[in-house]
């Protein structure tokens, strides 16, 4: 999942707006700080996901080189590597 900075900002605004409308949040350090916190949580998770994808691609290439790559379903193997890394890193894809 890829989101541009402005999309992250829009998503953060929607999350906070919905919480405020339903009176489900008490903001302790002001709205701007809460909004920044939401953006940062989303951006950090997306960064972890991107890092995982990069690492999975690199691992796939290493594996294909090591075994020759013949008869291997690249797509399936990439998915398996991603799932393994996600489990190790406690990321939900």
């Amino acid at each position: 999942m890829r989101l541009k900075e402005e999309q992250i900002a829009r998503l953060a605004e929607k999350v906070l707006g919905d919480l405020e409308r339903a009176q489900l949040v008490e903001q302790k350090q002001g709205r701007a700080a809460v909004l920044a916190g939401i953006k940062s949580a989303i951006a950090e998770d997306l960064r972890l996901e991107e890092a995982l994808e990069r690492d999975a691609e690199a691992l796939l290439e290493q594996t294909l080189k090591a075994v020759g790559g013949q008869g291997i379903d690249r797509h399936k193997m990439l998915r398996m590597i991603k799932e393994k890394l996600a489990k190790e890193r406690k990321i939900v894809l």
Binding site: M1, Q7, R10, L11, K14, V15, G17, D18, L19, A22, Q23, L24, V25, E26, Q27, K28, Q29, A33, V34, G37, I38, S40, A41, I42, E44, D45, I91, V92, L93
Partner: protein, 90 residues
């Protein structure tokens, strides 16, 4: 842009944990707050999906249809995407 329910729940927990851990916010009703965050994320991606589909349909029906993924297609996609968001006052 497809996003699974598990992924939505995961991101919602990340947001909730961040706000609580950094002492930025309190939540009088944890379960309802988490549900609201999940609902907001789901709603956001639902609109994104609708916009994407509308833009793709517009591109496909364009009199001078471009090859999907080509540079011209991408430029038009971005242009129509911005128009579609503006139409929805996003």
């Amino acid at each position: 842009m497809h996003i699974s329910e598990d992924r939505i729940s995961h991101i919602a927990h990340r947001i909730y944990d961040k706000l609580w851990r950094d002492d930025l916010a309190d939540f009088p009703d944890e379960r309802r707050a988490l549900d609201a965050v999940k609902g907001a994320i789901e709603g956001f991606f639902s609109v994104m999906e609708q916009v994407d589909q509308a833009v793709r349909a517009k591109l496909a029906s364009y009199s001078q249809a471009k090859v999907p993924g080509s540079r011209e297609w991408e430029i038009l996609y971005q242009k129509f995407y911005a128009e579609e968001l503006a139409k929805r006052k996003w």
